[in-house]
Point group: C2
Chain length 201, copies 2
């Protein structure tokens, strides 16, 4: 029998599908300028497609924003897992690696913080598609940080995990508020101090 092949052939290097182009542009604009600040007209214009194409690929702008965040979520955990994989079995080094990288990224002049965090600020109403993705991401981050704090042998693992989360969120925000030279560059150092204090007997 004949195998059912995908519509796009592997050796086909032709232009990506409209939906992909849209998501790619939307991701860039949403992150840099905010979701509410960008209209669908600008997205389709910069993507070189037309508005009906957007609404064939995404049911609404809100769902497009949610798709952007779902992609952001994947990339976020890829970075997180990469930091962890660099120091297997050493949660303290894993955290240091992850936070050092965050601290470096915040020094980038056009750093705009965490797309998840920003989306939650833009959409405070519960149940909004974008916020749902954002909240799930943060809940999972909290869970993992608490798990790592437990593995560290902290006196109060939940408090330490939450403290690390506060430092991370603070770095996201102050990174975009202060720009280079801001408080976010000390996030890894402060996290290490906090860990140290949490291990005292």
């Amino acid at each position: 029998m004949k195998s059912i092949e995908p519509t796009i052939k592997a050796d086909d290097v032709a232009q990506p599908r409209a939906g992909e182009k849209i998501l790619r542009v939307a991701r860039d604009l949403f992150y840099r300028q905010g979701i509410r600040a960008i209209g669908v007209d600008e997205i389709v214009r910069r993507a070189g497609v037309t508005k009906p194409s957007l609404y064939r690929s995404f049911p609404s702008k809100d769902e497009l924003a949610a798709s952007y965040l779902r992609q952001y979520d994947l990339e976020f955990w890829a970075r997180f897992d990469a930091a962890a994989a660099a120091h297997p079995g050493d949660p303290r080094a894993q955290i240091a690696a992850f936070l050092t990288r965050i601290g470096k990224r915040t020094q980038n002049p056009d750093y705009r913080g965490c797309g998840m965090t920003n989306a939650a600020v833009e959409y405070p109403e519960h149940g909004h598609p974008a916020r749902v993705v954002s909240e799930a991401n943060k809940q999972e981050l909290r869970r993992r940080l608490r798990t790592m704090a437990t593995a560290l042998g902290a006196n109060d693992a939940d408090t330490l995990g939450d403290g690390l989360l506060l430092l991370i969120e603070g770095a996201y925000i102050s990174g975009q508020l202060f720009g280079a030279g801001g408080p976010a560059k000390s996030v890894a150092r402060n996290a290490d101090l906090l860990i140290e204090a949490s291990l005292k007997k």
Copy 2:
């Protein structure tokens, strides 16, 4: 000669001026739902005035947002100074008082974070009237925290001051992200751990 009296007599308890009503309503709506999410029509409707009244009192919506933040700034420093005044000469207790109060406020179910921080997220472009107010507030907060860290006798006062700022910003954000029971409730405890670690010889 006759003294020039203000137009409003002191014993006049009549309805507040349109500008005041507008700012009062705008403050509430901007904080709870975000600045971009609220249109000027809704503001004037809820304030019981008309649109021209808004534009007689404020040159633009952006300037109205800046006015909202300037008022927010005053109230913020009032809270900050109150916490400091409660423990004169004891910066550690001052910080603990301020952060304990933040931690409590974040547990309020309709907590929406820091209006300054939220505005900066909504308006990433430099020079925007709202962002200008927000950035000035944060710069001053950073300065004061570093000063307090110095007074504490920290090994590295700038790092500790910045660490406290990260925890505070993290509390603002996670307070609105997680709601009650979130990481923000541990902000005072984590700050104290961080201070402890920064005083070690």
